[in-house]
């Protein structure tokens, strides 16, 4: 096969497309570079990025370029080395990025009227499991080790119940602990009976089929977790940053709300309150992720 286009090549092309879209509207040379964390379908995200960066460029008056990183870690790296100015981010990666490179929180996502959510421990209704203690010696699937609602907060419920001594000691209580790769994979593994429980976001059961949703329940719920957010690299021009934030807040207005589906589909955004993430900072310290 002669053509060897890689996913990375395509991303570059789309990034360039976004720039050229924005250029005629640009009043100055400065471009704003946005890092996006991939969903299950990077191709769809590319289309989304094109739509949203085009709109942002017209609102802000500078070219806006978007690109997809392989994960949160790569997005933080991009902020550190200046490849990205702004990134969409989970709460835990944010507090780590804040500590390491001084990342600045700009906006928090709002979903179902709240800028926070919870993590839950899900089980099958017919499993006979009614309490956390019933999971002793049984298998559990979490999303991944730096997921707030898909690992840290649900596991903390076991710690608070006195069942798990602390982070890192989970395997002493459970039979097997898996990191399934995402909420959906963890929930499917539980619903299909591969594992006895799943630790995932409070809304993760919506990732199952309607029949499966009726077959599962949850036995524990974490404290509220502040929502995902949008962060900036330190040193980003303050005026540009403010214009970006103002534009993003305009997405809350009825005529622009349809664009939210290009941005991971929140109900809207509010200005981020750095103090709201204290709980996540504490949690990160408890897990030894933060000094």
């Amino acid at each position: 096969m002669p053509v060897q286009l890689t996913r990375r090549t395509i991303l570059t092309l789309v990034g360039a497309g976004a720039v050229s879209l924005a250029t005629p509207l640009a009043a100055q040379d400065t471009a704003l570079r946005l890092a996006f964390i991939p969903q299950e379908n990077p191709e769809k995200l590319l289309g989304d990025i094109e739509a949203i960066t085009g709109w942002l460029a017209s609102e802000i008056g500078v070219p806006v370029e978007g690109f997809v990183t392989i994960d949160h870690a790569a997005a933080v790296e991009a902020l550190r080395n200046g490849d990205a100015d702004i990134s969409f981010m989970g709460a835990l990666p944010f507090v780590l990025a804040e500590a390491e490179i001084g990342a600045v929180p700009l906006l928090s996502e709002v979903y179902r009227d709240a800028p926070n959510y919870t993590g839950r421990i899900f089980v099958r209704r017919d499993s006979g499991i009614g309490a956390l203690a019933d999971l002793r010696g049984r298998d559990i699937a979490f999303a991944d080790p730096i997921s707030e609602s898909g690992y840290l907060y649900p596991l903390a419920e076991f710690v608070e119940a006195g069942l798990v001594k602390g982070p890192g000691a989970a395997e002493e209580f459970f039979g097997r602990v898996f990191f399934a790769g995402g909420y959906q994979q963890a929930m499917q593994a539980m619903a299909e009976g591969l594992v006895d429980a799943a630790g995932a976001s409070q809304y993760a059961d919506l990732l199952l089929t309607p029949q499966q949703q009726a077959e599962v329940t949850w036995i524990a719920e974490s404290a509220p977790i502040p929502s995902h957010l949008v962060i900036a690299r330190p040193g980003l021009d303050a005026a540009l940053r403010d214009r970006f934030v103002d534009a993003m807040l305009r997405l809350n207005e009825p005529e622009h709300r349809n664009k939210l589906r290009y941005l991971y589909g929140p109900d809207g955004y509010i200005r981020a309150d750095g103090a709201a993430y204290d709980g996540v900072r504490d949690m990160a310290r408890r897990y030894g992720l933060l000094e």
């Binding site: 060897q4 392989i70 989970g90 602990v177 790769g181 309607p210 029949q211 589906r261 933060l290």
Partner: protein
């Protein structure tokens, strides 16, 4: 919270037999999608070879990926699809199956190799994710044939993902890969692929499926649950058509009309059909949604465009297969009691006979009982046209109609030589709901053979047609303006451009409605509508239980309990979902008790259902 986007947008698998509200399917990778389309299309007769080639060259309909499987392979893989393309060229079904199966197995192996060769955890995880998504092409075959193997492989995927290590963030939270565990998990998957999907030759298949080769060779009878191929769409459309029921307009409560309510339930019940429709959750209302047309319905190989389907092809009831690729634009059922005869060519004088034909012949269902046919007909006869304040009930324009439509009305009533000195209104008689209840050959059907005379089609009403595009029996004309153009050109009507615009405006006015779509808000939510319908259906138990009518009670409980539970997934009030699940269980308990001939328990469960449903109605929304 990032998952929420995925929640709403794309991550659910198509649900099975009880799905009243099927969830949107997760996007298939292009190569896995092409494979599943090949299996589906390969079971149709006659086999649509062009569609199979298209399945590999173009993205499936509605795909979130912009390229087809071959271009995707070109981009993402080093595997050469030459042997598959050669098999397609030779139109050798068994060879296409073998080559496509091998190709998917090789793709999984390729991604597994990548994951093991990756130096970065993130890269390894991405490769595992891709391999896992490709394995989805085989997954239901493995599950149907060998649940133990399905479990073993499922755990291997979990193990593989867990042992790839994690990048963390700037060093925090990172873990390194556990190579030994990765290798062991990979061996579990690869051994199974080698034994079942990565073979030099495969046993001949009567029906193409993703069943593992060892299961096929064993000769055991294995039921593979039917599934729709990627690109299928059986969702309700948005906006949802407004349903106008004659009795409701007269403020008569459906719960006081048990025969109508039971018919309403049957109209929403997949249980009256045979497999595969029953197992896929396809009902009358899947196509004739809210008495109108589901304009997004599409099944590859059975639909040539959205809103059209070939119900006498090989898929729904192979015995009824007419071996012709002749999908029909789904007709609206509004005003059904005025629109006989039935069938596009008007071959059924009786709605009852036509309904039986749909259930038994087209969708392979068991013979319906007289009560079921009575109920369905009683319900469907209540479908009314949409009120239109621009039209009187005898088909004249009111003052609310635009002036341009009045000029069109004159053209509509004017005789044309090209129409045999008749007018448009001669067939679409305004004071007879724009019908003449006859079939005419207007030359819109290409003759099937030289001298063929079967081109006569039942005159369709013009009422409500502003919302039912496309037009003609095969949906070949996209707009009412195109219909006007077609008549002008084929019948040499000699209309000026202004005439055409006026006639189109008239058709759009006649076909309009004051409220064509259901209005949802925070009070009238989609779930609330479904809940009200389902509890109404259940109300026929007040009639059926005293009659000890086990057959029809079970039809009802099997349909409604499952639908109620499935519809709970669409509730915006997530906290109230467990109450709806509990309510569904009450209804299922009625069915279980009737099956056990325990009528006292059945009645107790039914009483509990009624009081709990009322309480939920009060507070759950």
């Amino acid at each position: 919270m990032r998952v929420l986007l995925a929640t709403l947008a794309s991550a659910l698998l198509l649900s099975g037999p009880v799905a009243a509200t099927p969830a949107k399917e997760a996007p298939w990778l292009p190569d896995a999608a092409a494979y599943r389309l090949t299996l589906f299309l390969g079971n149709l007769a006659p086999l649509p070879w062009d569609d199979i080639r298209t399945a590999w060259t173009e993205p499936y309909r509605g795909s979130e990926f912009s390229v087809g499987a071959l271009a995707w392979l070109d981009r993402e893989s080093k595997i050469e699809p030459d042997a598959l393309m050669d098999a397609m060229m030779r139109e050798d079904r068994q060879a296409v199956f073998a080559e496509a199966t091998r190709l998917i197995a090789l793709r999984i192996e390729e991604e597994l190799d990548r994951s093991l060769a990756a130096e970065e955890s993130a890269t390894a995880q991405q490769a595992v994710r891709t391999a896992r998504e490709l394995y989805r092409a085989f997954e239901d075959g493995v599950a149907a044939a060998d649940s133990e193997a399905a479990r073993r492989i499922g755990l291997a995927w979990l193990e593989l993902n867990s042992s790839t290590g994690f990048s963390g963030v700037l060093g925090a939270g990172s873990t390194s890969a556990d190579r030994e565990t990765m290798e062991a998990a990979r061996t579990v998957i690869s051994s199974y692929l080698a034994e079942n999907y990565l073979l030099d030759s495969f046993a001949p298949r009567r029906a193409l499926s993703a069943l593992p080769e060892t299961a096929v060779l064993s000769g055991r009878a294995i039921e593979v649950p039917p599934s729709l191929p990627p690109g299928s769409d059986i969702f309700d459309q948005d906006p949802l058509p407004l349903l106008v029921l004659n009795f409701e307009e007269q403020d008569i409560d459906e719960t006081d009309l048990p025969l109508v309510a039971f018919g309403d339930m049957l109209f929403d019940s997949a249980q009256i059909f045979g497999s595969p429709a029953r197992d896929l959750g396809i009902t009358c209302s899947t196509c004739h949604n809210r008495s109108d047309i589901n304009q997004r319905l599409f099944v590859p190989g059975a639909s040539h465009q959205p809103g059209a389907i070939d119900v006498d092809g090989a898929f729904f009831n192979p015995i009824f297969n007419d071996r012709r690729d002749d999908p029909l634009d789904i007709p609206s059922l509004r005003g059904l009691r005025f629109t006989g005869p039935y069938g596009r060519d008007g071959r059924f004088a009786s709605l009852r006979d036509f309904t039986r034909n749909v259930i038994v012949n087209e969708f392979g269902g068991d013979e319906p009982t007289p009560f079921m046919l009575d109920a369905l007909v009683a319900y469907m006869l209540e479908f009314d046209f949409l009120p239109n304040s621009m039209l009187t009930t005898d088909g004249r324009l009111t003052d609310a109609a635009p002036e341009v439509a009045r000029r069109g009305e004159e053209i509509f009533n004017q005789p044309f030589a090209g129409l045999g000195d008749r007018s448009c209104a001669s067939c679409h008689v305004p004071d007879a709901n724009f019908l003449d209840r006859q079939a005419h050959d207007i030359g819109s059907v290409a003759p099937a053979y030289e001298g063929a005379r079967a081109g006569a089609l039942d005159t369709p009403t013009l009422l409500g047609t502003a919302y039912t595009a496309p037009y003609f029996h095969d949906g070949s004309l996209p707009t009412l303006a195109a219909v006007v153009d077609w008549f002008d050109e084929t019948k040499a009507l000699g209309l000026t451009e202004e005439d055409r615009a006026s006639l189109t405006a008239y058709l759009e006015t006649v076909g309009a409605a004051d409220e064509p779509y259901e209005a949802f808000d925070t009070e009238n939510t989609a779930f609330r509508l479904a809940f009200a319908e389902l509890t109404t259906f259940a109300s026929t138990l007040d009639t059926l239980l005293p009659r000890r009518d086990a057959e029809h009670i079970l039809l009802l409980t099997d349909t409604v309990a499952a639908d109620l539970s499935a519809d709970a997934s669409t509730m915006s009030n997530l906290a109230a979902r467990p109450e709806v699940y509990a309510l569904a269980e009450r209804l299922a308990a009625v069915g279980a008790a009737v099956r056990a001939d325990d009528w006292a328990t059945a009645e107790a469960s039914w009483t509990a259902f009624k009081s709990e449903a009322a309480a939920i109605e009060e507070r759950a929304f």
